[in-house]
């Protein structure tokens, strides 16, 4: 019988369609995985944003990945029982986000202010001499910044709170 750990490992290769290097596990979207005595698997998933347009796609991809392990009965529940926030992104996930050319979200203490959004470290040159252009970007999870040091615009995976 497939173990919960094997499912976690399998889901580590289900990628966020917007940053295809970042898995749904590193993103912190998978709340829990359980397997009952009959071998049926249940995966709890929470969206990053209420209006996330990719959630149905992600749900299907997760299901497919578990089925591929040979699990016959798979239920993927998408809900807000646990509310995603950007602190749930793993260390590995943060490194992958930077690798992708985006500034990873700073760890927050449950409060977002303009100060937190200014002087974000530039993912290209690491300078903090940067300014936020707009808190909204090409996808719901990104803001747009400008680096005064290397004169390049960059995007940040923005910090989001919950609770």
């Amino acid at each position: 019988m497939v173990t919960e750990q094997e499912i976690w490992t399998a889901l580590d290769s289900v990628m966020d369609p917007e940053i295809p290097k970042l898995s749904v596990v590193d993103l912190g979207m998978v709340s829990s995985i359980s397997i009952d005595e009959s071998g049926a698997a249940e995966v709890e998933v929470t969206p990053t944003f209420a209006g996330c347009p990719a959630i149905d796609f992600i749900k299907r991809s997760i299901r497919d990945a578990v089925v591929e392990l040979g699990v016959e009965s798979v239920t993927v529940n998408v809900n807000f029982d646990r509310q995603w926030n950007s602190n749930m992104i793993s260390e590995k996930g943060r490194a992958l986000i930077k690798d992708w050319g985006l500034a990873p979200p700073p760890v927050h203490d449950g409060y977002i202010s303009l100060d937190v959004l200014q002087n974000v470290a530039c993912p290209h040159c690491d300078s903090r001499n940067t300014t936020m252009q707009t808190p909204f970007g090409p996808t719901l999870c990104r803001s747009i910044h400008y680096c005064n040091n290397c004169s390049q615009a960059f995007e940040q995976f923005k910090p989001v709170t919950s609770g």
Binding site: A50, Q83, I112, T161
Partner: protein, 252 residues
């Protein structure tokens, strides 16, 4: 718990978000600068997504129709949004001011719902709060910049504020059964929310050089919560549902 009042509370909250989300989306490709175009698209997406999650609670917990049916296939009189959100966008000044007035109201409402004993609603409030922080941040920045901008921008923001103030107060129109919900500790009264809202926005308006209205002397535009709407809602509902009504049974 007064369940039917709670259902209506969720419904009106969702209807406000759906309708304002659609109004925001009308700025797509028409924003004064591309950043603002993107901002209003993003906020539209957040708000429609939040509305969908609330409709989904009504669907799964209380047996209401599917979220799509609730959103698009009701008669105008069954919507319980406040009239503020139905008004046409007008100029960018009016849209920004409505966004400012609405999002501060949503923010205090969500903060009050975090401790709601009906868990599915509390969970959504906890989630939406973080999203709305960005909406409030965006609104505050522009109110400050344009209020403290030129004589023209300041005058336009003041006019927008004065025109929208009676409609904004309509956000706090109580629904039937609210009193009972308040007494049972399910929700905070609209009166209290309005007081918190005023306390939040008045200093921001003042700092922006705008004259906060004398709220107590304004007659709120009410009726939305009872299904009485402005002339603008029916055409908007027609437009929102235009594609869906071609074939309501189609699989997407």
């Amino acid at each position: 718990m007064n369940t039917s009042a709670l259902e209506n509370y969720i419904l009106k909250t969702a209807d406000d978000l759906l309708v304002l989300g659609h109004r925001h989306s009308e700025w797509t490709a028409f924003g004064p600068v591309i950043e603002e175009d993107i901002a209003f698209c993003s906020m539209a997406q957040d708000k429609v997504g939040q509305a969908q999650a609330l409709y989904n609670v009504l669907h799964t917990t209380f047996g209401y129709d599917h979220p799509d049916t609730l959103a698009f296939l009701r008669e105008e009189g069954k919507y319980t949004c406040a009239q503020l959100v139905e008004l046409p966008n007008g100029g960018y000044d009016t849209s920004l001011m409505r966004h400012f007035l609405f999002d501060h109201a949503e923010r205090v409402r969500l903060a009050s719902l975090v401790s709601c004993p009906f868990e599915p609603l509390a969970n959504l409030a906890k989630k939406f709060k973080g999203e709305v922080e960005y909406h409030v941040l965006h609104a505050n920045t522009w109110i400050d910049q344009l209020g403290n901008g030129t004589e023209v921008s300041k005058a336009r923001m003041q006019t927008a504020l004065d025109e929208l103030a009676p409609y904004a107060l309509g956000l706090f129109e109580a629904i039937e059964g609210e009193q009972e919900l308040v007494e049972q500790g399910v929700v905070v009264s609209e009166q209290d929310l309005q007081a918190q809202w005023q306390a939040a926005i008045d200093p921001i308006l003042e700092k922006a050089g705008l004259a906060a209205p004398d709220w107590s002397s304004i007659t709120p535009v009410v009726g939305g919560r009872k299904g009485y709407h402005s002339e603008y809602l029916a055409p908007l509902v027609k437009e929102m549902s235009e594609v869906l009504v071609i074939d309501t049974e189609v699989e997407w």
